[in-house]
């Protein structure tokens, strides 16, 4: 576990060495701020629901950009060989990189705390709901990070890793709007797979174990798939 923490701290610091981190954060804040506040005063309600509603799809575009380099860059430069010949296990590597990705998602969400703070001046804001929604957002982020990590482990090309990650995440995010494509028999499965539907409750501030279980399962599947890919490369 010590090794995983070391890999985590290296990867997390790495994010802030390159300018990509700051660009991603800036664009994310710009887009969410605009999309959220452009309708906020029309609805005239002191709640963040419409902000959180944006996240399943926005994260599907942003998170793969965060995770694309985690394995692809190492594979491309060859430092993957160095990493694997250090006394660390696959689990250390995967968890370290995964935690770094989740921590960066948290770093992206951190400035958005300004929204509830400003809104709270306009009326009474239910902080419990806000807290629950932020926790749920982290879970959503973690699930997407795991998928992005898996996509990154597949290829040495960061662009491909990013696109594969986006396709999988975006599929989960918009599948609930595509239900008319599915035959009746697998409709329930398609609905269950939708990250947007599971996130709806979260956005309302309701923490349901079924939703938590969904996000944790997606994260676990992503990480396990990454493990399988690493095993295969060996």
């Amino acid at each position: 576990m010590r090794q995983a923490v070391l890999i985590f701290s290296k990867e997390f610091k790495d994010y802030f060495i390159s300018p990509i981190a700051y660009i991603v954060i800036a664009i994310f804040l710009l887009v969410t701020g605009w999309l959220f506040f452009s309708t906020f005063f029309i609805f005239g309600q002191v709640e963040l629901r419409r902000f959180f509603d944006l996240l399943p799809f926005l994260f599907a575009l942003v998170v793969p950009i965060i995770t694309m380099r985690l394995f692809s860059e190492e594979l491309n430069v060859g430092s993957y060989e160095i990493l694997l010949t250090l006394p660390v296990t696959f689990l250390d590597i995967i968890l370290g990189k995964f935690m770094a990705g989740v921590a960066f998602v948290a770093a992206i969400l951190l400035p958005t705390l300004a929204y509830p703070i400003f809104i709270s001046f306009l009326g009474t804001l239910d902080w419990g709901v806000v807290l629950g929604s932020y926790l749920g957002s982290l879970l959503l982020g973690a699930a997407y990070v795991a998928i992005g990590l898996f996509a990154s482990s597949l290829t040495r090309n960061q662009i491909i890793a990013c696109i594969v990650g986006m396709v999988i995440c975006a599929t989960l995010a918009i599948i609930d709007k595509m239900l008319f494509f599915f035959p009746q028999s697998i409709l329930d499965v398609a609905v269950y797979l939708s990250s947007a539907i599971h996130f709806e409750n979260v956005a309302k501030g309701i923490i349901d174990t079924r939703d938590i279980l969904y996000f944790l399962s997606i994260a676990f599947i992503g990480l396990y798939a990454t493990h399988l890919v690493m095993q295969e490369k060996k």
Partner: protein
């Protein structure tokens, strides 16, 4: 120290390493030689735990690479080909990170970093970004990385490839210094390098070991005897031949293409394990021939290597 048994690696259907066995003693500097694609890197990667062998096993101090890869990795310092270090990091940050992963902390870590900076000459570059370093400097950082935990075994894949002659000499010097205390395994396709730095040479071709021994052993095993070349001024070949073939230890005297028409150049093939140079000189001295050149053409590792690894 290291014991490889029936080591095999398949990439899908392609057999990169084909059931090789070797034994490496403590304190040896081993050179792994072979043409490109012979299986050198694959062998080193299995040794260092990057690849799992398709079959067979390596035991390092009785630790199986297969069963206990983590313990085996702790015994080995490894520098892959062309030192693929994290490009964006500062040299200090990088070595600090590796030190922590190798389990060093606090004063012990700082002391080790200082030692390595001395050993590998890194003092001036600790605060530079790795991607801005020249290949030679990067290789030195890579060596420091490999030696971080003061491992008993050091594995270096093509440590001097892509370096200029001065850098090659520097790196070789460092390797030789390390080799005084450690077991060093390096791969190369530069033969003079293997000859200059290694105690023992293992030649690999198409995934199999085709020669194993000290440079001298390999030369005597695979060479016919050495040839002595003599150049004389304005002399008749037949006379020379009858004179020199009667010398003890000489097997055959042949004419060779000379540099100028006045010269007569001959090649004297000796019998196995004989050195008739003194007798030859005495025989020439007894005549009135003018001797211009007299030298022994040792069979180089290069020729042996080519003979061993040639197609068919």
């Amino acid at each position: 120290m290291i014991h490889a048994e029936n080591l095999t690696k398949y990439y899908n259907a392609f057999c990169a390493v084909d059931g090789i066995n070797f034994e490496i003693e403590k304190g040896e500097i081993i050179g792994l030689l072979g043409p490109n694609g012979a299986g050198k890197t694959t062998t080193l990667r299995m040794l260092t735990g990057y690849f799992a062998p398709s079959s067979g096993d390596i035991r390092i101090k009785d630790v199986s690479v297969r069963e206990n890869p983590l313990a085996a990795k702790n015994l080995i310092g490894y520098l892959p080909e062309s030192a693929p270090l994290y490009k964006g990091m500062l040299v200090y940050d990088y070595l600090d990170h590796i030190a922590k992963i190798r389990g060093l902390t606090g004063d012990a870590k700082n002391k080790r970093l200082r030692e390595l900076a001395d050993k590998c000459g890194l003092h001036g570059i600790m605060h530079k970004t790795i991607e801005t370093l020249s290949k030679g400097l990067k290789q030195r950082v890579g060596l420091a990385h490999a030696m971080m935990s003061d491992p008993e075994i050091l594995v270096l894949d093509e440590p001097t490839s892509g370096l200029d002659p001065n850098q090659i000499v520097e790196i070789r010097e460092i390797i030789r210094r390390i080799g005084e205390e450690k077991t060093v395994i390096l791969s190369t396709h530069i033969l003079s390098e293997a000859e200059a730095t290694c105690d023992r040479i293992v030649i690999i071709n198409k995934g199999r070991i085709i020669a194993d021994g000290s440079t001298r052993d390999i030369k005597t095993q695979n060479g016919q005897a050495d040839q002595i070349q003599v150049t004389l001024l304005q002399t008749d070949f037949e006379a020379v031949r009858s004179q020199l073939e009667s010398v003890k230890g000489v097997r055959k005297v042949q004419p060779m293409p000379a540099e100028s028409p006045d010269h007569l150049k001959i090649g004297v093939t000796c019998q196995e394990l004989s050195d008739p140079r003194a007798d030859l000189y005495a025989a020439i001295k007894a005549t009135d021939w003018v001797l211009i050149d007299f030298h022994q053409e040792a069979k180089t590792l290069e020729t042996i290597f080519r003979e061993l690894t040639r197609e068919n």
